[in-house]
Amino acid sequence: MPALGGETLSLQPWRDLFAVPGILRSALLSLCTGLAATLISVILVILIVATFQGTRGFRRVERVLSPLLSVPHAAAAFGLAFLIAPSGWLSRLLSPWLTGWNAPPDLLIIHDTWGLTLIGGLVIKEVPFLLLMTIAALPQADASRTLAAAMTLGYGRVSGWCRTVLPRVYPQIRLPVYAVLAFSMSTVEVALILGPTTPATLAVRVTGWMRDPDLTLWFQAAAGAALQLALVLFAFLLWRFGETVIARLALMRIMAGHRGRSDWFPRAIALVSALAVSGAVFAGLVVLGIWSFAGFWRFPDALPQAFSLKTWMRSGDTLLSLVATGMGIAVASVVVALILVLYQLQQTTRLDGSPDRGQGMWLVYLPLILPQISFLLGLQILSVISGLDGTHFGVFVCHLMFVLPYVYLSLSDPWKALNPRLSTVAATLGSGPWRIFWRVRLPLMLTPILTAAAVGLAVSLGLYLPTLLIGAGRVTTLTTEAVALTAGGDRRLIGVYGLLQAILPFIGFGMALAVPRLVWRNRRAMEARQ
């Protein structure tokens, strides 16, 4: 980078990086909070699925937790902050009758030094994600018959599930688990809202350097981004090692035949955590909503003295333009992603309907399992060189990269599940491959396509770091502006931004549910598919 005076290769950026005060603590914080959040999420998901699989309650758990998936990380984090802060809703509900507090207590709950609140904020978002991934993997693991076989051999529900279903489900959710690990270790928005500040986690500090007017900090930022990548790879190795050790130990326990028949304790944890996770996100959104309409609101009152539309009116014009920008970029990237993925699927499907093995498709997943900060720095520099930084097109290209893997994930399984004989019949009736695509496969895929679109929309609307870095402050969305409000601490405004941010993706999922019902209202076999 000659423009910045860096004309030779040197270790100077690394020396600068390690000279930054508290950098090792930042790195350690990233590693530990990320591992802890992932471990807790995985354990809770295992307990929840083991406890509820095949019961009446299972559909209910699924229905309660799946909408949480579309809530952006930032909105969920704000909601949690508004719930558990010293002046938050929980403290208000319990004061003064239980706690005796007449003023908010002087406790460091948000931004706590150990990152415990950060871990909590990550867990409430990752549990719904991993849960739905696990549920999707159950049929392939022949879960219900396997669990029944284990239980008739005398095993308790949870211990039987962990010994027989888990070993078959886990390989299928490994990719999402590693994605959660990478995200948790390198998240910027959640760490900004909930995480420690003295020092902050590594990704937050690197982002700060990249946004600094002093461009020479970019060298140090690049070294930091590389360190982040190394940390994530190290965590992957650690996790992989843990998997192996646990598998070994588990096999020894299986050989010993311990039944674990009394499992009320893990089942109680599963029930409580499912309620706590959904409760935290929903209640958080409710408090965001209350704050956005709040007039004067004194501490320990549970509700404001008056409600007003003032905050909404005050920011109306700004909100409109932010929503327009965000939706424009989201819709564009989703449409292009759908076209690319469907084209790829169609091209790799042979005439008999059997899918080709998608070669090199793992490349698509890279943005999911690498820390965003590590490759966004490179992309930012590329965008500056190509003049795309700060343009809508640049941000759109970057969003497409993140939307694509989710759209591919949501579409490839339903596509492969299409009955191949339908295509065969269509072909023998004289249809060419593209006629089969338009007239048979595409209509049958309506529901998965809409779901994939809703997922892609939610992903794009929630993207913080890519928008921030490639947008360079000139392309702003609800998400970047909401996170930027953290510093100011205007709760009413945060309420407005957070609530709106959470509502937009819901609309997408609502349409994904409603449209197929309307279109297929006279097609019973299509209804059954949903």
Binding site: G54, R145, T152, L153, R157, G257, H258
Partner: protein, 214 residues
Amino acid sequence: MTSGGDLEFRDLTLTRDGQRLLALSVTVAPGETLSIMGPSGSGKSTLLAMATGTISPEFDTSGRIILGGRDITALPPQDRQVGILFQDDVLFPHLSVRGNLAFGLHPSVKGRKARMAAVDEALAGVGLAGFADRDPATLSGGQRARVALMRVLLSQPKALLLDEPFSKLDAGLRDQIRNLVFDHARAAGLPVVLVTHDPEDAKAAGGRVITVGG
């Protein structure tokens, strides 16, 4: 193995969406085999799921199930001591043959050596000595059926349920496995309930036959 006592279905009914699928009241003595015949969809497999406690929630049931004088109707599956063989063997594909049998072997057999010996003895008993470390996926259908049988017997059940376990076997093999299962069940003194749509199965079982549905 302990002889468990009678398996009694007392005034059982099975209903789905308000439609009565079957009603049954019968007692099976230790060593006896009761065959229940009926077309698919008649609820005969669901009856077994009711006995194992793994029935899916869309069914409504009433009546009591008593095993060896103990009312097991409300017990969770793991506490019922009711073993079952399914149409497919449901061997766990992530465990070796030894792992599958050790999984089933009752926890009262303690110590690594004793447990391994029990597994080896069981394998030898069905002509599969030396198969312990094999991957179940490499076994033939008949071999898998024998492993599944030994897995359930090693768990020391007090009753054995058979959910069309012979229907997927080749005709030549079917007789052989059928005799093996009935011989072992009789030797263990277990009350056996067989669900099938094959009259040959019921004939080989040699006990009472009840026809449901259709």
